[in-house]
């Protein structure tokens, strides 16, 4: 090993030792905070990250229960929203969709749909609305294609 290599190794060892020495085990919370701030790191944000990491990857029973409760509440809200989506609102949306399809030149037999409105169940109306939305999306796509081909 040449002298230059020896000096390089000693330098690297010194810097490694220095890094370990100045980040000793006894480093106090405020010291780490000051040091992190000096390096441009927000310690409060870092502590939030630790809490989040622990909560996501090693949740306590309280956190698990809170998460299950939140999921249940969200699911309940969705159900409630669906239940509150009134029949007349769905019918209104069906009409709007059909109008916009007609404007695109599609021959929509409104009468046929209207006749069935009164007999159809809520689920059937929602399904019809989904179907119409899909057809309208197809129409728009076809029209875009036709426009781009001149």
């Amino acid at each position: 090993m040449g002298n230059a290599d020896k000096i390089a190794r000693e330098t690297a060892r010194f810097l490694d030792n220095l890094t370990e020495f100045i980040t000793g085990e006894d480093q106090q919370l405020d010291e780490s905070m000051d040091s992190l701030r000096a390096q441009g790191v927000d310690p409060e944000e870092s502590l939030r990250q630790l809490r989040q990491t622990l909560s996501e990857h090693a949740p306590t029973w309280r956190e698990k229960a809170a998460r299950a409760r939140a999921l249940l509440a969200a699911s309940f809200e969705t159900q409630k929203a669906r239940a509150h989506h009134t029949r007349s609102e769905i019918e209104g949306e069906i009409r709007e969709t059909m109008d916009s399809m007609r404007a695109l030149g599609a021959p929509v037999e409104a009468g046929a749909y209207h006749r069935n409105f009164e007999e159809a169940r809520d689920e059937d109306l929602e399904s019809l609305l989904e179907d119409l939305r899909f057809q309208r999306a197809l129409l728009l796509k076809q029209q875009d294609k036709a426009d781009s081909n001149g």
Binding site: T11, F14, N17, L18, I22, T53
Partner: protein
């Protein structure tokens, strides 16, 4: 190994958890800087020191990496070792990756084959990068030496750091009380915090300009 995971989580959630986490994070940043990382840039492969530290915590609490308290009672030392290993791999991969076919015709007309490689000789790019790193490290060391010059206790700590990184061993080598060694380590940390990679690079450039 579930016990190891649970114990790690218990400590990290306990009264000392936040101190340990911030100490680990500080270590990750200092170590990355020691390897030449600049604050406003990401580590090789797009990682940040904080992500490396966080990733290590996740792996330990999910059991992907094991902290065995019987072998290493200090969780901080164990976590630091993992961070050191991960950051080391990132920089080593970054500095030494060069892909080219083994068999090719060299500029002098000779044909290189697998037999042309003896042992693990570095290629010219690796040699260049190594030379650059050594130059920066020696500049950093000089800046620290200049900062401690004339302060006898810090000078003795400086010399002892060629031998050891352990405060206890450094106390023995310097014959200073251990409490004083700890207090000097804080002073040295303040000095080292001013020796930023940007300053080292600037100083190295100046030195090169002026021979």
């Amino acid at each position: 190994m579930t016990a190891c995971r649970e114990r790690a989580v218990e400590i990290l959630r306990g009264p000392d958890g936040e101190r340990l986490w911030l100490a680990l994070l500080d270590y990750a940043h200092k170590l990355a800087r020691r390897r030449g990382w600049r604050i406003d840039k990401t580590l090789p492969q797009g990682f940040s020191p904080g992500e490396i530290a966080n990733d290590v915590i996740i792996k330990v609490i999910e059991g992907e990496r094991i902290w065995d308290e019987a072998k290493e009672p200090s969780i901080l030392i164990a976590l630091k070792g993992m961070v050191r290993s991960d950051i080391g791999h990132l920089f080593d991969d970054y500095e030494a990756s060069l892909i080219e076919p083994i068999e090719r015709t060299c500029p002098d007309g000779s044909v290189r084959t697998g037999d042309s490689f003896h042992g693990n000789h570095p290629n010219p790019e690796q040699e260049f990068l190594h030379g650059e790193r050594v130059r920066l490290e020696m500049t950093a060391l000089d800046l620290i030496r200049e900062a401690v010059e004339g302060k006898s206790e810090l000078e003795s700590i400086f010399l002892a750091l060629y031998e050891s990184d352990s405060p206890k061993e450094i106390a023995q080598l310097t014959e200073l009380p251990i409490e004083r060694v700890y207090s000097l380590s804080r002073e040295l940390a303040r000095i080292a915090s001013k020796v930023t990679p940007a300053r080292v690079a600037r100083e190295a450039r100046e030195r090169r300009k002026h021979g």
